[in-house]
Subunit: 349 residues, 2 copies
DNA sequence: TTGTATGCGTTATCAA
DNA sequence: TTGATAACGCATACAA
């Protein structure tokens, strides 16, 4: 129905018998003084006409979009859950979030970035795997603030800050945990294509080995080098039968694949092999055996990221209105580490 | 760096020594005739100044945003994968996609919808579970075209069309398949809270029972009524030991939970119980035993939806430019059924 | 083939 | 406390 033109401030102003400026003032609850009567008049007129503000016009006039971008390598697993939380957090602070997935394709990445800048997003949140150096410099040069999360490469110096899950520490903890559970040989099942986010885990894994005495046999596997079908055999050949071997995996999905291939091969989990993942996704909790993992405080990570960004954008007022204490970020360009917490399950008991 | 004001068409025009209209014409490759020379001049000027079009201004002037909304009940599993595909498809057709998750909360739904309408989206894609009647009517009344997917309730009559996965037929096929594999008793493990999308499956399940002779024992289970921990025992009590029982599940995640609880309870899958899911997610393919499921043609579903919407928006030209055959939608307000294809795995062999 | 002028719907700056 | 009015950046009918 309704081929009527949408009502504008102008229509509302006429209906209420005031000026457009007054309408705008009422509807945006500004700091200017307004009489109760005009407020009521305007609000009634707006309701009557079904007025709905035009975001384009407002953004154009205000020279601020209240839109932020989120650039991810993909949509599944951790990425999707983080996106969902970021969206909630954005709305909580009165922002609109545009989520894009680069599919790990640099052509796509460049195109999406261009789209984001054309939309004049007020700020950009970006996963370390989702942005190249060229793109990052383009954004900075454009004057758009960028905040990284899960970024461990040199690009982070271009950002206003970085919010990282402490996967390093998680891997340290995992090895220590596996050792406590009786493991005397260790494997890391990783994913080269995840670059720095993989290397962080490797560092943690090594540190864990060091802390547990130093000289247990250990080896690295990568999903790129060993087909899933060969995984169980590969692990069995390289580990003793007497004591359980611990397998630290890149994430829950790798752990899931690893554990299922082991079981398929007839190896007992957790008797012969113990498995640990990261992210504590649904699949970890509902597998049998349940997969030991690390819980991610999504809300905390998202809130931290957003408050940092808002502070940079000079929106402290907004934070305080939300009852949040004014956020004092770490050193500009610094890094915040979000701790992950171990969730023990049958796969490592 | 760069606290310069962003370059505008005006700046480009001055730099190139032409008018803003010419700049706009060149940059939008319109149907108007343009001399090679001015095209080059304008493009060089734009590149030199790092000009980037302002989407707000363009949308405002054009009275069209090239933005469409996608309203989902959540972000995980099928929803997330569909969102990712819709985003790709949107970009392919030159549109921007704003994805929102209602989290199955009607307050959230209303707020998000309002945001979408404020942004003057050209159209709205909406999951059947993500929109109430009031909201749907508000959208229609607003004049914004809406297209549903996976919607089986009466709301679909408010839409320009509906694109549904044929889960009914999938369930029919599943029961027939399980029967062929030797099952002589059947269960449907569903999810009441998914309303119509659950009922479609139930209808299919019943039809499958009818087709396979009619009088095999069968029963319904719902995730709301039976705790996952009790599931295995519940199923065992209600099925004979002599022949395998088939469990058709709402989706792969339910199948995953079901299968793992059965294995945990010491029941053989697929010997004692055979399990089938829907959606063919990663978890189905990489479980052990692999879970028989139904593959979803995401790209097809997304493309079909988009072309339907674009046709409604009068953008046939855009479709043809993309080399697509002009889409002739089914009856306006009609329903398209997307077939799912069985993927056999060990869980039902 | 190119330029002029106007409109798009808000917000913000003044002045009243 | 409220009202004119000038931006905001782009697209487009119409004129040249």
């Amino acid at each position: 129905m309704a081929e009527y033109r949408q009502a504008t401030v102008f229509d509302v102003a006429k209906e209420a018998g005031v000026s457009t400026a007054t309408v705008s003032n009422v509807l945006n609850r500004r700091d200017v003084p307004l009489s109760e009567k005009t407020i009521r008049k305007v609000e009634e007129a707006a309701a009557k006409l079904g007025y709905r503000r035009n975001v384009m016009a407002a953004s154009l006039s205000r020279r601020k979009t209240y839109e932020v971008g989120l650039l991810l390598p993909g949509f599944v697993g951790y990425y999707g859950l983080f996106a969902q939380q970021m969206e909630r957090t954005a709305h909580k602070y009165g922002y609109h979030l545009s989520v894009f997935s680069t599919d790990m394709d640099s052509k796509v990445e460049r195109r999406l970035l261009e789209k984001l800048l054309e939309r004049r997003v007020d700020g950009l949140f970006c996963h370390g795997l989702a942005m190249s150096g060229d793109s990052a410099r383009k954004v900075v040069n454009d004057g758009t603030p960028i905040l990284f999360f899960n970024c461990w490469n040199e690009l982070k110096h271009l950002a206003i800050g970085t919010v990282n899950l402490n996967v390093y520490q998680a891997c340290v903890d995992a090895v220590v945990h596996l050792h406590e559970q009786g493991c005397r040989s260790f494997f890391y099942y990783g994913n080269k294509r995840a670059f720095a986010t993989n290397e962080q885990r490797i560092h943690g894994f090594r540190e864990g080995l060091r802390l547990t005495g130093g000289k247990h046999p250990a080896d690295m596997i990568d999903v790129e080098d060993i087909a899933a079908d060969d995984l169980a055999e590969w692990l069995a050949e390289r580990s003793e039968d007497a004591t359980p071997a611990g397998v630290m995996c890149f994430d829950d999905w790798k752990a899931f694949v690893c554990q299922n291939r082991l079981i398929e091969g007839g190896y007992d989990v957790p008797g012969r092999f113990k498995v640990v993942g990261i992210n504590n996704e649904f699949v970890a909790g509902h597998s049998y055996p349940g997969i030991t993992s690390f819980n991610v405080p999504y809300e905390h990570q998202a809130d931290m990221s957003f408050r940092w960004m808002l502070t940079h954008l000079g929106e402290q007022a907004k934070l305080e209105a939300k009852g949040e204490r004014p956020f004092s970020p770490p050193v500009a360009g610094g890094e915040v580490k979000i701790p992950l917490t171990l969730v023990e399950r049958l796969s490592s008991r």
